[in-house]
């Protein structure tokens, strides 16, 4: 999941960089601001994606570290597609953390299942997700 998140971050940053480069070079040549909006919007959108990925990674790391500390990391198995992790997420910030993790999961091709306080994250095969191992 971390590897996939890393690739997605690179993709998002590429989107930012490429579109900012268009805005930069065209504005230097005096292209009207209106003609640059689409590129600026795309860059902004990719910044949003990168932010979601970063927030999700932080939420996941915080949850995993808490679970390790509390002894509520139930299982970690497999490697790559099909691998899964079950941990408990609880407390005041559960909903916020889970929301960030869900967004990360959707961007990286990871399934999220809730069983009570437990959360099961399962890395989906590549065909079922946009993300790339």
């Amino acid at each position: 999941m971390l590897r996939r998140a890393g690739h997605e971050l690179r993709n998002a940053l590429s989107g930012v960089s490429v579109n900012v480069e268009v805005v930069h070079s065209r504005s230097e040549r005096g292209v009207a601001a209106g003609d640059l909006t689409a590129f600026a919007d795309r860059a902004r959108l990719q910044v949003g994606v990168a932010t979601m990925l970063a927030d999700g990674l932080l939420a996941l790391m915080n949850s995993v570290m808490s679970a390790v500390a509390d002894g509520t990391l139930k299982s970690v198995s497999g490697n790559g597609a099909g691998s899964q992790m079950e941990l408990m997420i609880y407390g005041d910030r559960r909903d916020a953390l889970l929301a960030d993790i869900r967004r990360l999961a959707s961007l990286t091709g990871v399934g999220v299942e809730e069983r009570g306080q437990s959360v099961i994250l399962k890395v989906l095969p590549e065909g079922q997700s946009h993300s790339k191992d």
């Binding site: 993709n11 590429s14 960089s17 480069e21 590129f39």
Partner: protein, 505 residues
């Protein structure tokens, strides 16, 4: 292709839109495919000079796309854009034929690198595209200008002529006597921008020194006893066109100095003249000499050699392009049968066997003369071996006495030579040939049939007789000082005249 296009294959729209804009701003025509399969579809319908492919894409990923491009022989240069810049994936991409790869994220530095890579990749694509067009143009070609031949060796010659003709570069043509060096020179001239200008051929071995100098540079009135009128030389007469100096290594050394000066200054001075006359000429030269020997013997000035041999072209002897022998023999037969009003129906099997087994030391010229003589001498409706064999060989049978195996010949080459020689010496008797060479008659038949069907590879014919003179050119390794040259080149008294006529081979 006037404007090579760039195809971006990536499923990430934020990248394709931005990258397209950047490349369009750079002046490229850009198309986008949102996965590898769509990229393949587009590449199948229109040509793209460069493909920028993401390594990971739905359906067909970057590596699979590369493999398909290779498999389907789709001409393009592929630059892989990868978010997984591991050594393995990069090495694999290059191994699969990628031009280069760029790692994500595409920061300003990486975009600059990409911008620098694309024109280089396009240049490579354009050069290869031109080569492909040329190869396909020359594929199956049996005639090129006045040259005849469809062998790989001759296609190589045509390809060099195509490449060099539009330039103004001097060309030094190497080849044994009778291989058609002047025809190559004529083809270079005809394919050049000078084609409308004159083509002036001069045989440097044919004329005594004084006459050669006069022919080259001309003279003023009163330059020497009997020069009652001024006369322009070859350089002036070839102005705006091409001058072909055949047997240039036979040119006397002091004329070589004058020639060198004329080439360098692009101007000449007539004998007895004081003024410099500017000339706009291209120089083509030829020699049948072993160039290393001519240089070491000081017969050819080294500085002149470098001026003349900007491009070197080796014309293979006929024995090294066996596949062309049938084509040439048939063509000469048709030509001379028509000229002599004879209704001839080709060569009989024994004649073919002899034609294909003889090593033709006089090359195309000897074959042409042999066929002309055979047409005149023939009594039946087909040319027989006895019609076409030179008399001295008919008497002695020496053509079958020995074979020479050149360095680099394979076992198959040698076997074919043995079979052919034995076959010719038995007057086409399969059973006797089989006994002589220790093969089955069926194998002998198969060997002969493959030759008769034109499947004989170059170099599979008879090897060159020992010491036959011309070798493939090599630049001199240890240049001797030009000033040390003192020997005089021999002058052939019996060679042909100066202005040559185009002769169809």
């Amino acid at each position: 292709m006037k404007h090579p296009k760039v195809l971006i294959a990536d499923d990430d729209r934020s990248i394709t839109e931005g990258l397209s804009a950047i490349l369009r701003d750079e002046g490229y025509e850009v198309a986008v495919a949102i996965d590898g399969q769509k990229a393949l579809d587009q590449l199948g319908t229109e040509p793209f000079g460069v493909v920028l492919a993401d390594l990971k894409m739905p359906k067909v990923d970057g590596l699979a796309l590369l493999k398909e491009l290779q498999q389907r022989a789709i001409p393009t240069e592929c630059i892989i854009v990868t978010g997984q810049a591991t050594v393995d994936s990069a090495v694999q991409a290059m191994r699969e034929g990628a031009y280069d790869y760029v790692e994500k994220p595409l920061t300003a530095d990486k975009l600059n690198r990409l911008k620098a890579l694309i024109p280089k990749a396009l240049e490579k694509f354009t050069v290869q595209q031109k080569n492909r067009e040329l190869s396909s143009k020359l594929e199956g070609l049996t005639h090129y200008g006045e040259l005849t031949g469809q062998s790989e060796e001759m296609r190589g010659v045509y390809q060099i002529i195509e490449a060099v003709a539009p330039s103004n570069a001097s060309v030094l043509i190497f080849g044994e006597s009778g291989t058609g060096k002047e025809l190559v020179a004529r083809a270079v001239h005809a394919k050049s921008e000078r084609a409308k200008g004159p083509f002036f051929a001069l045989n440097c071995a044919a004329l005594p020194k004084d006459i050669l100098e006069n022919e080259l540079f001309g003279h003023e009135k009163g330059a020497f006893t009997g020069s009652v009128n001024e006369k322009p030389g070859a350089f002036e007469m070839a102005d705006g066109g091409t001058i072909f100096l055949d047997e240039v290594a036979e040119m006397p050394p002091d004329i070589q100095v004058k020639l060198l000066r004329a080439i360098e200054s692009r101007s000449i001075r007539r004998l007895g003249g004081k003024k410099e006359i500017d000339v706009d000429i291209r120089i083509l030269a030829a020699t049948n000499r072993d160039l290393q020997k001519a240089l070491s013997d000081n017969d050819l000035r080294e500085d002149l050699y470098y001026r003349l041999a900007v491009v070197e072209l080796f014309l293979p002897p006929l024995r090294e392009r066996l596949g062309d022998v049938k084509l040439l023999a048939n063509e000469f037969l048709a030509r001379y049968a028509e000229q002599n009003g004879k209704a001839l129906n080709g060569f009989d099997d024994a004649a073919w066997e002899w034609i294909l087994s003889y090593n033709w030391p006089g090359n195309v010229r000897e074959l042409k003369n042999a066929v002309e003589r055979a047409v005149i001498m023939s009594r039946g409706d087909k040319i027989k071996a006895s019609d076409i064999m030179p008399r001295h060989l008919q008497r002695t049978g020496e053509f079958a006495a020995a074979i020479t195996v050149p360095p680099g010949a394979t076992l198959a080459d040698t076997r074919r030579q043995l079979v052919l020689r034995a076959f010719a010496s038995t007057n086409g008797d399969y059973a006797r040939t089989a006994t002589i060479v220790g093969m089955s008659a069926a194998d002998v038949r198969a060997e002969i049939a493959s030759l008769l069907n034109g499947e004989g590879r170059a170099g599979e014919a008879n090897a060159a007789p020992a010491g036959n003179g011309v070798h493939r050119p090599a630049k001199p390794a240890d240049p001797a000082p030009a000033a040390a040259k003192a020997s005089k080149a021999p002058v052939k008294a019996s060679a042909a005249g100066a202005k040559s006529k185009a002769k169809k081979r």
